[in-house]
Every structure is written in C-alpha cells, then in structure tokens.
C-alpha cells in the first residue's frame, strides 16, 4: 500500500513540499450555456488529502464544476490550480486527476484487467500487472479480472470504475454521483468502502452528490451548492448544526423556520420576538443583517411538554397545540400549530420514555436549548431547498405531507 501513497504526477512537474501541495484551488470559475449561468463565480479550495463533497440539487452546477476540474468542460472565466500550478488550459489527458463517472463508462470490449490497466498503459508505466492486481485486491475483484464489464453486477462495475481511476494514483479523484445507480444497502456498503480507501491512500477525493445523507456520512467537508454558487461550506456537523441560509437549513435535514423580529441583545444572545413570544439566539448564530429574521431550530432538538410545566431559563419556549402526531418506531413526529404562525412546527421526540403519545388538541410547550437556535435573513425564501433532498433519512423528520396540507389550507406564503 505504501507505494500507492507516494503519488507521482506525470503531467505536472512541481517543487516538492510546497505549502498547499496537492490542494485543488478553484478561483472565480464561471460556466455559461447560452444565457444560462450554470457555475457562477465559484471560489473553492479543497485541501490535500480530504474527502470533499459538493452537495446540491440537480442542476445546481456541481457536476459541471467537477467536469471543469477533469478538463471535460472549459470554464468561461476563472482558473483552476492544482498544487499551485494553473491547469486551466491543460487538456484532459494531461491532467493528473481521474474520474469515476456516474455511468461508470467502463470499456465494454476490454476485460476488467484491461479496463483498470488502461491509464497505466497510456502512460507506459512499468509493473502494470502488479499494480492492477493490487488495486483489484483492494476493491475485492481479483477473481473478476478476466471478465467483461457486462458480466458484472452494478456494485462490482462501480468498484471497477473506482479501481480504474485509483490505480493511476491521481492527485485528485473525482467522483460524479458514483453511487447513484446502486440500491440503498449496497450504497451504504460502498460509502463505507470508499471512505476507507480514501483513508488508506490519503488521496484527495472530490465527491459530487445530491444525497445529503451520503455527503454527511462520507465527507470531511461539504460545500452546499445552489444555482451555481456555494451556499455554505464546512464540516458536516457545522453545516447541520449551524446553517447560514434557508437553503442549507432545509436541504440538510429539515428545519422549523419561523418569522421573527430582532428586539435587542442580552450579553451573548440576541433576543427575538417570534409569534409574540421571546426566543433567544446565540449571537454567533445570527446570520442576518436585518431586523426581520427567520428563527430556526431542528425538529429533533425540541422536546414537547404539556402546557404548564415549569419553564427552564436555559431554554427557549413556544407554546402551541398538537395538530397531529405519528409514531415511526424510533420516535414520534409531532406537528404543532402555533398561534400567530401559518406554518405549524415540527418536533421529533425520541422513543426513550414510557407514556402515551400526546393527543391532538393537547396544549403543549415546545422547548429547546438556546444554543440550538439559529437565525437567518428574513428576506429569504423559507422553503428554499425543501423537497430537493433525497431519501427518507432515518433519524431525520419528514412531514412533507403535513406541510402540503398546511400550505393547501393557507395558500402559499411569501
């Protein structure tokens, strides 16, 4: 394995051990198709050795970005630097990056061995047999070396595509929705396997996906993309716990966003008024330049208590009436109407304590720790990014049906 780690680059001769060596750096990238700006002045630095995910709904420009790094698309503006060298003008076959295509794009007329050996042969490498055998071992496909791609299952083909790219020891491995065609169980396995291979080899992976769960499971760092721009970038926990835009708040998991007004500050917290009740937000979690804000909290942070329970000063509290509840095994989802808000609030209560579910019509208090509260720009669309997330994420709440009925009742809100 050690030999694989010593990545050597053919296309680029560079001084060794520069700071930022192996970093992939995108500066002001723009790509237009006709009048459509698909990638809009994108700035992004992907540090060497990371598994970096570009996450966004289809059409957000993430695949175009990846293809520009691979050299398969040419940017209209901006530069791409790899290890400090400008590769913007370098043609695809000279770039020290390799791609795992969404369709795998395995050569149907070549055996698995020859598919994997393709890049090595093109660069006239030595010890092709040993290198190919070793990488096939890594992806557990030695036995399939002499078969043709059509004789392999989808998951096996996926691993061949991975091996075919990895065997070249690229400075950056590009993965374009690599698990999209696999079923749920296999996808989980592959997520784990890819993550492990990345750890072992220490290569930089740029992973493009629309699956927020996949991105959070695998990536060291995620950039959430929307409309050709990066909405927010950070570690999965950071994005999830402290979203800066409504899009991120809704696209990763789900969020309660309630209209509110900033009323003042009290030490480290900003005091807001939401539906006539006071809600405190930590200062560093307020991302709005305006008085009007959306105050947000994730459904699973909330605990639902019957009205009249003694309040806790370390918690925010909003009272409402249970509209609906559904038991989903690991917990209960509550939909709670709040006086003064068109949107009901969602709360997810873990199945940890005995006792009956709260019946619809019960007056309740929704309570959560102040540090879980965040505030977003009040001019945003509070529904941005909703419904574009995929997969019924276990542990996350999805009350789309309720929202639909609520919206149908009250009409679209802006």
């Amino acid at each position: 394995m050690t030999e694989v780690i010593t990545a050597e680059s053919e296309g680029l001769k560079q001084a060794t051990a520069l700071p930022g060596e192996g970093d992939l750096d995108l500066r002001g990238l723009v790509k237009r198709y006709g009048k459509n700006t698909v990638v809009d002045h994108l700035d992004l630095t992907i540090p060497s050795g990371q598994l970096f995910a570009l996450l966004g709904p289809s059409g957000c420009g993430k695949t175009t970005t990846l293809r520009m790094v691979a050299g398969l698309e040419h940017p209209d503006e901006g530069q791409i630097h790899l290890s400090g060298t400008d590769i913007t003008q370098l043609r695809t076959f000279r770039r020290p990056v390799n791609t795992v295509f969404q369709s795998y794009a395995l050569f149907p007329h070549l055996t698995i061995f020859e598919n994997v050996a393709f890049g090595l042969r093109e660069r006239r490498k030595k010890d092709i047999k040993a290198k190919v055998s070793r990488i096939l071992e890594t992806v557990e496909l030695q036995a399939m070396a002499h078969r043709k791609p059509a004789q392999l299952s989808g998951g096996q083909q996926q691993r061949v595509a991975l091996a075919r790219a990895l065997v070249n020891e690229p400075q950056v491995l590009l993965l374009d929705e690599p698990l999209g065609a696999l079923d749920m169980k296999l996808r989980r396995q592959m997520q784990y396997q890819i993550k492990q291979i990345q750890n072992e080899l220490g290569l930089t992976f740029l992973h493009v996906t629309h699956d927020q769960e996949e991105a959070m499971t695998m990536a060291d760092k995620i950039a959430v993309m929307n409309n050709g721009r990066i909405e927010q970038m950070g570690a999965p926990e950071e994005l999830y716990e402290s979203p800066r835009t409504a899009f991120v708040a809704n696209f990763l998991g789900s969020s309660n966003l309630l209209e509110g007004e900033v009323r003042g500050t009290d030490g480290d917290v900003v005091v807001t008024e939401v539906v006539g009740q006071q809600v405190r937000v930590p200062k560093d979690r307020v991302h709005s330049a305006h008085q009007s804000v959306f105050v947000g909290v994730r459904p699973e942070k909330i605990h639902v208590v019957e009205h009249g329970t003694a309040p806790d000063p370390s918690e925010n509290e909003i009272s409402g009436i249970v509209l609906d509840s559904s038991f989903i095994g690991i917990g209960t989802e509550y939909v709670v109407t709040v006086a003064g808000s068109f949107e009901p609030m969602k709360a997810f209560v873990q199945n940890r304590s005995a006792g009956a579910r709260l019946a619809p019509g019960t007056p309740v208090s929704l309570r959560w720790q102040i540090p879980f509260t965040f505030a977003l720009d009040g001019h945003e669309d509070p529904h941005a990014g909703e419904g574009s997330a995929v997969g019924p994420a276990t542990g996350h709440i999805s009350v789309d049906a309720d929202e639909m009925s609520a919206r149908a009742k009250h009409g679209p809100r802006k």
Partner: protein, 285 residues
C-alpha cells in the same frame, strides 16, 4: 367485475370450442407457414441460379434445364472476357470499399462526435448521392469527367463508386456510433489517452461491427453497380456490364457459376463469423 362474469350464462361468453380449435391450429402453425413461404420467396431466385449453373443449355439461351453437366464449373473462364470482367469488378469493388470505408468512418465520427457550423446541413448533404437517381448521377458524372478531362475507364469507375459508397458507410457507421456511450471517449481522455489514442483504443474497436458492415455493403454495391458504370466505363468491362452485354446474345451458364461462387463465399463468411461470435461469447462466459 369478477362476480358479473361468473353470473353471465356460458353461451354469452366469448368462447366456443370450435373457434378455439381453429385459433389453436393457426396459433401453432400459421407463423411457420408464412415464414417458410417468405423464405422460399427470398431464396428461390438464388436456387434457380445454382441449378442453372449445372445446366447444359440446348441452344444459346440458358433458360430451360436441359441436361446436367459440370462443364461450366470446370471451364469457368471459357466465354471470352468473362473472367477478366470479374477480376476488374473485384479490383474496383475492393478499392472502392477500402476508400469509401476510410472516408466514411472519418465523416461519421466527426458528424456524431462534434458540433460545428453547418453540422445539420452536412448531415443531409452527405446522404444526397444516395437519394439521387443513379441514371442522373451517371449522366452528370460523364459530363463532369469529360469537362475535367478524366479519361473514362477503371479510374473513372472507381472514383464514381467511392463517391456513392461513402453515403452508405456513413449511415451504417453513424448508427453504430450513436449506440456507444459518449462518456467512453471522455473516460479514455480522463485516463490519459490523446484523442487519437482514444479513437484507436475505444471508438474504433467498438465501432468495428458497424465499420465492417459498411465495408461489406460498399463492396457489394460497387461490385453490383451497372448504371453509373455504364456511363463512365469507356472500354473497360465490369462483370455487370459483361452480363448485360451477354444477355443480348444469350447469357453463358458460366455467369451462373460465378454468381454461385460469390454466393458460396458469402455463405462461408457468414457462417464462420457466427461461429466465431458464438465461440467468443462462450469463452468469455
């Protein structure tokens, strides 16, 4: 729904024992009968050619079966000019097939892989020679040759054949290329293959069946062509022209022998290819 059906009297159901017997018979045999008839219809002319190649004609015309003989086969080149016309046709067909295939493959590749100005019109223009009536094409070619000063004869024939064969090669190869995943060339480029290497190692082998089909088609079209050739041959005589000329005096049975030989060669090639394909599939399984 089901209850209603059950309550309906049996006589009203869409069922009678007699009808079932007939439809059963047809269901089992009608397709075979039609298939057999169609096959006979297709192969009968060839059968006649083969049979008549073994005939000893009573007079000048080889129209009725008179007497069995192998003379025509042992004395293939008997009639004056027959074998030299076959040789010329084979030479022209081979050269035309090779040239048309090379040009046609390149054209098909660029038409299917690149978008350039005039792409749409080029797509249509390359097919034009195919849609033109051959008589018109032949006549206008004659005018062209005379004006440009190209002597009529084998070269003029070859140039004409290459021209009309290209369209067919383009159609066949383009259809094959359209079936290939466009990502494959990108994958090759991503794996350090220059555009030429990608073409050679990925596109070409995958398009090979289409290219071969195009080449065979071009060969057959050229070998077979009479109308255009007739305008531009000068003194040269191709096999179709020999047959045309001989028809006026009575076609010698050796023509049937030549036709039978060609048929047998094609059959052997087809059978070999299908055997090779089967073997290859079994081996890779």
């Amino acid at each position: 729904m089901t209850r209603e059906t059950a309550q309906r009297p049996v006589s009203q159901l869409n069922y009678s024992p007699k009808r079932e017997r007939i439809s059963g018979f047809f269901g089992r045999h009608i397709i075979r009968v039609i298939g057999a008839l169609a096959t006979v219809y297709l192969l009968l002319p060839i059968a006649v050619i083969i049979v008549m190649s073994l005939n000893k004609p009573a007079g000048r015309y080889n129209f009725t079966f008179n007497e069995f003989t192998l003379d025509n086969w042992t004395n293939m080149c008997g009639p004056y000019g027959l074998c030299s016309s076959v040789t010329l046709s084979l030479q022209i067909a081979l050269a035309a097939a090779v040239a048309a295939t090379v040009i046609g493959v390149l054209a098909a590749y660029s038409l299917s892989r690149f978008r350039f100005r005039g792409h749409g019109s080029a797509n249509i223009l390359v097919l034009l020679p195919m849609t033109m009536p051959e008589v018109v094409l032949g006549a206008s070619l004659l005018t062209l040759y005379v004006n440009v000063g190209i002597p009529l004869g084998p070269l003029a024939i070859l140039l004409a054949h290459i021209m009309f064969c290209i369209s067919f090669v383009i159609i066949v190869v383009k259809a094959r290329l359209a079936m290939l995943d466009a990502n494959l060339t990108e994958a090759a480029a991503d794996l350090y293959a220059t555009p030429w290497r990608a073409f050679k190692r990925v596109t070409l082998p995958l398009a090979a069946p289409g290219i071969l089909a195009g080449a065979v088609l071009a060969f057959a079209l050229s070998f077979d062509d009479f109308i255009i050739t007739n305008f531009n041959s000068g003194n040269a005589m191709t096999f179709p022209m020999y047959v045309w000329g001989a028809a006026k005096r009575g076609v010698p049975p050796q023509v049937n022998v030549i036709a039978t030989v060609i048929f047998l060669i094609v059959m052997v090639l087809a059978v070999t290819m299908s055997i090779v394909a089967t073997v290859r599939e079994n081996r890779s399984r």
